[in-house]
Symmetry: C2
Subunit: 191 residues, 2 copies
DNA sequence: TGTACATCAGTGAACGCGCGTTCACTGATGTAC
DNA sequence: TGTACATCAGTGAACGCGCGTTCACTGATGTAC
């Protein structure tokens, strides 16, 4: 039962979207091809009409997750500036999301282990830092401050998730919001 | 060829030490039992004289890695206070270590995915934060500041590793050292 | 203090499950005439 | 515009490799007498 070209394209998009979720939920190592295919409403056998192998699938899933994440941050910065973006990222809702939204927090340590994926991820992170830096007005040290805000957001989100979903975890998010917003102030500390 | 009790104890210690390395190098999901056993100088068959299963092995390896990490931080704080600890953690040498030293940076996103391991890890992180807080003098907001320093250190180390080992990566570490030391100043920003 | 026996750490072969990959097949699409 | 044929997305069974786990066996340890 061959499908039309348009349908084939749609199918591939569904598979990639499912892969983006799977990889953020379970990590690159434990992400499961069969689950991606069935989440996309297909059986596993048809997979190789769309991808060369497992590695390509999750690389593409990761790419889409990064693109989505970039878009979310750009939109937030456009709407309410860096503070709005920081508050959205370091929110209880984001921490508790069933599919972790930010691929860097969800996969950070795994990406850091692999030079290729790490380089790809760093490109994605750089774009997000640029977006934040623009949101900061783009002054001299804007990119430096944006970098530190991103580091704080990732680190705090990972800590908050380790701490579960109770008061201590909420507190981490609150402190990190304050701290990130403080870093956003021009030239308060950095050289 | 039964071994003496003392020897058996030594063997188990070697296995756990190898597991602590393996898990930090490859992550919990990809850590390999056979490699742990051969790193400990044994064949794989004898494994079950020491552990119930794979899960126990790496849980214990993780526990040891956390204990070691705790000790390193406590020693550094004892020797040169929080600044010394921050500089050691956010150093190029630490970033480039073949076996990533800090289990939280090496495994953070993986630990955050699993509630049990996450809780264990959070207990370990809490101890490290307490150590930093003591190093800060233990004032009112010392623990809050220590928490933010730890978040910054973990986040910046992960970012730096994504960025590779060149100038941009070095710069992240440098900025994060400055920022962490700034947070260490009493009541500069936090409520 | 020595002897006989049970214990059990460690070996290496074998097992079995999960999962990525392959393959013969189906039948709708799309193209050639 | 219709007909014949090639293409190929998707199915479901089967394959095979890696890896955790099991097992019969060995021989040194440690205990009972």
């Amino acid at each position: 039962m061959k499908k039309s070209k348009a349908e084939t394209g749609q199918t591939k998009l569904r598979i990639v979207a499912a892969a983006a979720d799977e990889v953020r939920r379970k990590g690159l190592a434990e992400a499961n091809m069969a689950e991606v295919m069935s989440a996309a409403g297909l059986t596993h056998g048809g997979f190789y009409r769309h991808f060369a192998n497992r590695e390509h699938l999750f690389a593409e899933g990761l790419r889409q997750a990064m693109a989505t994440s970039q878009k979310v941050m750009a939109d937030r910065v456009a709407v309410g500036g860096v503070p709005h973006s920081v508050k959205g990222y370091l929110s209880v809702a984001h921490r508790d999301e069933a599919v972790p939204r930010c691929p860097y927090a969800a996969l950070g340590s795994e990406l850091a282990r692999d030079p290729n994926l790490g380089a790809q991820a760093w490109a994605g992170v750089s774009a997000q830092i640029d977006t934040l830096a623009q949101g900061l007005g783009g002054g001299d040290d804007a990119r430096d401050r944006a970098t530190m805000i991103f580091a704080m957001m990732m680190g705090a989100m990972t800590l908050a998730r380790l701490a579960g979903d109770g008061g201590p975890s909420d507190r981490i998010l609150e402190l990190a919001r304050q701290e990130s917003l403080a870093i956003a102030q021009p030239s308060q500390r950095l050289t």
